[in-house]
């Protein structure tokens, strides 16, 4: 083959990709397997492990310092893992040599590389009176009417954010007037256009404008590589994020949507690594990506091949060597980073970057801290890394490792300086699996714990409500634990309610009601039967009870919101819960795919009532794709109109009568 033929062969091969459905199925299996692996591999008591890890860090740091003092002319390197101080690198080569040495020796994997960056976020005042707990919008009805992003806009919902005032990204956003969504058709590996639509006064969905994503990201060729997208909305700026796995990079485009009919790109930025997650707080986007430099391209003489970078798409800036720190040099074993950046939306540039080694599994942020979790299966356990957001600056603070695994972002909360995490771990002596709740101060020094809960069960869902934490574990019955955290040094179990089934998602509806979406379990053999909405009475926290339950769907039913909190709308201020679910089509045996429904719930004098609508489809013949559409559908309200935003259209529904107002197909 000559060079031209080789290039053509590569191009042809690059166009070959597994189907989007297969990839989605495998991604689901990966997530489930990860959770399953987490159940199996936890070993020790998390609190003890944390202390032991601190000692191990100290030993490791000492050993590494001796190694480095021998070959490198650097000063004092030592610092315990739980201190903010960490060693500096003199140049990129030093970092390269260290990692290369350790890789050859096959050393461990847990380590951190962080910048010491005191990052000044211009002109932003730190707000200490914010609601910092992991409390949903629904818990405080005074807060829900307006979001901080669009205070003048009509009453509307935002993405189902975990923490008030901390925006999470999603495929649909609204400012109360317009709905921004990403168009994607079944069979396509990725979204194709940004669509802007709006409901008029009568509730009819109308199309305003669309813009191809290829234009937004200035990509001339069709990538055909399953790129995923998320959006954020900050006043008149729409931020689109595109994760590109093949290029191992994340593109960020900032659009001016002050005139929504003519969205205009004002900046294009790029960060190393595929997109992991991000949070938008007070005009600053904190973006986390996983960077895995291609090993075959790494060359010591070329730092761009192994050091992450951020910047405009035209000009990338590497993390400076003196900014790069490591807490545990002995354990660095590969060039695999979690890159954290702060992007000022006003200046439209990165104000700071930082990186940790290892892949981030979960991320939690409130207005004061950003926590990054990294689950490790080689040395079982989870590492926690904290960045403080203080007076407009971001500062690396502390790290700790616990054994045991957290379920998701809802397993964490920081409130009044106390970080709390719920994990499932395996007791090293008895090999039994337990669940525990652990509190730390902001230096990640352990404060208190309550463990040994739910023997041989694992955590299925967690929700914090101020000083109280509710969590569900499950094997055959569903204990809902209620833990009082008002004394961080001594978390106290208030009650444990055992009922059949389990809840996969918990949301605080009001002061006396906790809503759980999950599965019923009426069979003696432990197999699950259909879906269930539980309404727990939390008025007496020492004696929780299930006030009401609604069973729906059969044993094949599944709701995307069980795994993705962004797929459910819980709006007590509008008296509505909305989500999609799908199940096997019994009326049509030839249809191999499920059929889907929209579930709408409202509270009446007699309790909660479920209304079910057929999932809208543009073409009856295409009814084989319900799972795809149900998974990618979002629910929001603007005024008294409920909008069902699908990848290929919008249906509007009257919030009072639940009758369909209009349907718009893109």
């Amino acid at each position: 083959m000559n060079e031209q033929e080789k290039r053509r062969y590569r191009e042809e091969q690059n166009a070959l990709n597994p189907s989007a459905e297969t990839m989605e199925r495998l991604c689901d299996a990966a997530r489930k397997a990860e959770t399953h692996a987490a159940e199996k591999t936890g070993e020790k008591h998390p609190r003890v492990a944390c202390q032991k890890t601190m000692r191990r860090y100290a030993v490791a740091c000492l050993a590494a310092a001796m190694l480095l003092a021998f070959c490198l002319p650097i000063g004092s390197l030592l610092s315990p893992a739980n201190q903010a101080e960490a060693r500096n690198f003199q140049d990129y080569g030093e970092l390269f040599d260290l990692i290369n040495e350790n890789r050859k020796k096959g050393n461990g994997e847990l380590t951190y590389i962080v910048t010491d960056g005191e990052i000044t976020l211009r002109g932003e005042e730190h707000i200490t009176s914010g609601y910092v707990g992991g409390v949903s919008l629904g818990t405080d009805t005074d807060n829900t009417a307006t979001t901080p992003l669009a205070s003048a806009a009509p009453e509307h919902s935002d993405t189902n954010n975990q923490v008030y005032d901390v925006q999470e990204g999603d495929v649909v956003k609204t400012d109360g007037t317009y709905i921004y969504s990403l168009k994607r058709v079944q069979g396509e590996s990725e979204s194709s256009d940004l669509c802007i639509s709006y409901p008029d006064e009568a509730g009819n969905a109308l199309f305003l404008a669309s813009l191809p994503l290829s234009e937004i990201f200035e990509e001339k060729t069709k990538s055909n590589q399953n790129a995923s997208h998320e959006m954020f909305l900050c006043e008149a700026k729409l931020i689109l994020i595109r994760s590109r796995s093949r290029e191992d990079s994340t593109l960020i485009s900032i659009l001016d949507v002050s005139d929504a009919s003519v969205p205009r790109v004002t900046a294009r930025l790029e960060q190393s690594g595929t997109y992991n997650s991000a949070r938008l707080i007070d005009g600053t986007l904190y973006l986390v990506s996983d960077h895995n430099p291609r090993a075959e391209y790494i060359r010591k003489s070329s730092p761009t091949t192994y050091i992450p970078s951020c910047g405009s798409t035209d000009e990338q800036a590497l993390l400076a060597p003196e900014e790069i720190h490591t807490l545990d040099p002995e354990a660095v074993s590969g060039f695999s980073y979690t890159v954290v950046s702060a992007l000022s939306l006003e200046e439209e540039r990165f104000v700071s970057r930082a990186a940790t080694l290892g892949i981030t599994t979960h991320l939690y942020a409130n207005r004061e801290s950003l926590y990054v979790l990294s689950a490790s299966y080689k040395t079982p356990g989870t590492s926690i890394l904290r960045f403080a957001l203080e007076n407009g600056t971001v500062r690396y603070c502390a790290a700790a490792k616990i054994n045991g695994y957290a379920l998701n972002q809802f397993s964490m909360q920081e409130k009044d300086g106390v970080f709390t995490i719920v994990t499932t771990y395996t007791d090293s002596l008895t090999q039994a699996q337990y669940n525990g709740i652990y509190t730390f101060d902001r230096s990640l020094q352990p404060l208190g714990s309550l463990d040994g809960l739910g023997k041989d069960e694992r955590v299925y869902s967690v929700r914090f409500d101020g000083d109280v934490c509710y969590f569900v574990t499950y094997r055959q019955t569903d204990p809902v634990f209620c833990v009082d955290l008002s004394d961080a040094a001594a978390p106290k179990l208030l009650s444990a309610l055992k009922i059949p089934g389990f809840s996969s998602y918990l949301h605080v509806w009001d002061k006396n009601t906790l809503v759980g979406l999950g599965r019923a379990d009426e069979n003696e053999d432990g197999s699950t039967e259909g879906l269930k909405l539980s309404f727990f009475d939390t008025s007496d926290q020492e004696s929780l009870s299930e006030r009401q339950k609604i069973l729906f769907g059969d044993y094949t039913a599944s709701a995307p919101a069980e795994e993705n909190h962004k797929a459910i709308l819980v709006a007590p201020e509008k008296n509505v819960i909305a989500f999609a679910y799908h199940q096997y089509d019994r009326n049509n045996e030839s249809n191999l795919d499920d059929v889907a429904f929209i579930a709408l719930v409202k509270e009446t004098e007699d309790g909660f009532e479920l209304h079910t609508l057929d999932f809208p489809r543009s073409n009856e013949e295409e009814n084989g794709f319900y799972v795809f559409f149900a998974k990618n559908t979002r629910f929001l309200y603007i005024g008294d109109v409920l909008c069902v935003v699908m990848p290929d259209g919008i249906q509007t529904i009257d919030l009072t009568s639940f009758s369909c107002l209009s349907t718009l197909w893109f």
Partner: protein, 157 residues
Amino acid sequence: MNCHFESILKRQSAPVYRFLCSYVKNPHDAEDLMQDIFLRFFERPRSFETEEHERAWFLKVAANTAKSHLRKRALRRHEDVETLSLAAEETDEALRLTITDAVGDLPTKQRVCVHLFYYENLSQKEIAEILACPVSTVKSHLRRAKAALLKSLGGTL
């Protein structure tokens, strides 16, 4: 958002799929085999020292899986002769003027070596490890493949 297994899946699915396509010459079979490989890996995961190690392991598993698939298919060939010939016709039609088509016409072992050498940029030693054969065999497959490709591509370029 990303989990550990998901990251591995995203890194390795495309290389594994493309390799399987080149091995079994049928995108549907390649997709099925790819699914089997990853589902098995999720059930019984293992750790890797480096990313190269990870990729080499997946390609090796893919090579073994594809080999066993072709063996099984040969055994039941009499059952689905029609399906195979139909698939072959479709493939020929769709890929007629491509390099992939020319590579696809090579015998299996030559085809696989060409893919790993020219697309995955692996060394002859790495290919030998994946295919569990001596380096000299890889060399001779590549030599013969080059000669065959020169002949078949000579007219198209």
